[in-house]
């Protein structure tokens, strides 16, 4: 029954409802798959075999008693290691939190549990979500299941790899500058960053509080929408949570009809620096949407080219403040506590030992940007640019319903290629960052393989604030049109991984 790992969440749910299989069987099949391929992929930092099987058995028992269960009850999921889960090791990919077991559930985890979704374990990520490749994880790099010599994207590369290696049909990511969407693009999967404030940040180890957004990863648009619906909605524990109904994402993913939808191609997100195979697939997808009845126009967002520099001032500034809590006093690592060193010295030694290079770079950059004499020129100016980017979006949405671009300028690159070149690494997120700065919803959907390297390409859809449904509408339209051409979703073209046991 190992083909259970090839099913979508929707299919698994149907198999459980009809009594053909149980959540325990499904969960065991995915645990076996993790055992078989994770030596090669390294998507997981922690696998909670016992807890997952207990959760699955509980769902099965409730189903047997005739309890009304949600649409994803009993379906397994991989959780990015940046969200707290009571009693389960949570590291955010950092040595400074090695062995830490949070004493509480994040809101996302609470909602997953309430929905009966089975949490298999915690996935690898760049340290504190700073990175685009998982190479900044203190626990080793995750490998892209399409080509194990390449990175799976980041920061949520463990989640995207778990989904594309059939270790889990669903995963949770968090997106601060593209950490859900870029890994989705690189692994031929679906990833959506909800509207900022649409999903709760409570229990999410903060990178940049004004940008961080948890969201769904899956192999199909409908699976992603169902997961989105399960975790989204107002949370009084997050003071930036939006107190409005969740957008009708599931209905949009089922409908997938773009007739009459006005789509704007962002002129500035293409051309120089973009891989030809990425641009070719992107333009085909735009043509396909035209054939499906959408009205496509070109739109200019002149300030988007300043999104990257503004982001690399705003993010490090917020991160340098957020990461001040890793002070060796209340949780995590403590180094040099020898009765001679004072607290400040212990703090400095601990942070030196516990943080990796990229975290050190960004903390120092943030400290610099916020220091007196530089504040106005850097952080202050970046905030003004943020206003101009939001205005570019507003102006564009007067003409069109959604904006589109490639999700990334290139496909997944080789492990080691950009690790010591921060600026080349940062440019991964050129297309995804504007939506974080403006807070609107955006998603990446698979549209084929680049000719040069046979690696997946993602199509980026940016929708207005609280119109997350429009991302799913476009994603579902593309998915069903391509499924007719390819005989299935893009993932069905992925090479088989060698099974080690």
């Amino acid at each position: 029954m190992n083909d259970l790992t090839r099913k979508t969440a929707v299919e698994l749910s149907e198999l459980m409802s009809s009594g053909e299989t149980s959540s325990v069987e499904i969960t065991q099949a995915h645990l076996d798959r993790i055992g078989a391929v994770d030596d090669a992929v390294h998507a997981f930092l922690h696998v909670d075999t016992e807890g997952a099987l207990a959760q699955a058995a509980d769902v099965d028992a409730r189903r047997a008693q005739g309890e009304e269960l949600g649409p994803l009850a009993g379906v397994p999921l991989a959780l990015k290691d940046v969200l707290t889960q009571d009693g389960i090791p949570t590291t955010a990919g950092s040595k400074i939190l090695e062995g830490w077991k949070p004493p509480y559930d994040s809101t996302v985890v609470k909602r997953l549990k309430a929905a009966g979704i089975v949490i298999l374990g915690k996935t690898n990520m760049d340290e504190f979500a700073m990175g685009s490749s998982t190479e900044n994880s203190a626990y080793g790099t995750t490998h892209n299941p399409w080509d194990l010599n390449r990175i799976p994207g980041g920061s949520g590369g463990g989640s995207s790899a778990a989904v594309s290696a059939y270790q889990a049909p669903l995963a949770i990511g968090t997106d601060t500058g593209g950490s859900i969407r870029q890994p989705a693009a690189f692994t031929g999967t679906v990833g959506v960053k909800p509207t900022y404030g649409g999903t709760s940040r409570y229990g999410l180890i903060a990178l940049a509080s004004s940008l961080d957004t948890p969201g769904p990863c899956a192999r199909t648009t409908l699976d992603a929408a169902l997961l989105h619906e399960a975790i989204a909605g107002y949370d009084p524990m997050d003071s930036t949570s939006i107190n409005q109904p969740v957008p009708a994402v599931v209905e949009a993913a089922r409908r997938g009809d773009v007739t009459g939808l006005r789509i704007g191609v962002v002129k500035e997100l293409g051309g120089e620096g973009y891989q030809p195979g990425v641009e070719a697939r992107f333009h085909e997808a735009v043509e396909l949407l035209t054939k499906l009845g959408a009205e496509v126009v070109e739109v200019s967002c002149p300030h988007f080219k300043y999104a990257l520099p503004a982001y690399y001032l705003i993010l490090p500034s917020e991160a340098s403040s957020n990461l001040a809590k890793f002070d060796a006093m209340r949780f995590g690592l403590r180094v040099g506590d020898d009765d001679l060193n004072d607290a400040e010295k212990v703090m400095s030694l601990t942070r030196a030992a516990g943080f990796g290079d990229e975290v050190k770079r960004r903390i120092m950059l943030g400290t610099h940007a916020l220091s007196s004499g530089y504040y106005d020129a850097y952080y202050g100016q970046a905030q003004k640019v943020r206003t101009l980017i939001a205005r570019d979006f507003e102006r564009a949405y007067e003409q069109v319903d959604v904006l589109v671009s490639p999700a990334t300028p290139t496909t997944a690159f080789a492990i080691g290629d950009r690790i010591d070149d921060p600026i080349a690494m940062y440019k991964n997120d050129l297309c995804t960052i504007p939506s974080n700065l403006a807070g609107n919803a955006a998603g990446s959907f698979p549209i084929g393989l680049a000719d040069e390297d046979g690696m997946p390409v993602g199509f980026h859809v940016m929708a207005p604030v609280m119109r997350d449904d429009l991302c799913y509408l476009v994603g579902a339209a593309l998915e069903s049109a391509y499924a007719e051409q390819w005989g299935g979703v893009l993932m069905s073209q992925a090479p088989e991984l060698e099974v080690t046991r």
């Binding site: 004004s210 300043y306 607290a343 030196a352 290079d357 120092m364 610099h368 100016q381 921060p422």
Partner: protein, 99 residues
Amino acid sequence: MPSITREEVAHLARLARIELTEAELDHLAPQLDQIIGLVAQVSEVAAEDIPPTSHALPLTNVMREDENVPCLTPEQALSGAPAAEEQRFRVPRILSEEA
């Protein structure tokens, strides 16, 4: 002419409470200089009369009722502490010898 010197990076590391080795300074200082070169592009934008955005949502003063809600027990709160004593976090001494 670098936009940030090695000495300035060393100073930032001290402000950020990160003890850097000489080798790390050699490695990180030129990278930070490059990154500052990139982010300085924001100065090209004429934005004198543009209001700053600190946050995508226009929210102010989010309030709730002042009601007691369950919280962590002392044992839970101390469960991740590097050192604890008498139901408290045990920390290294705060004052230095000279003080």
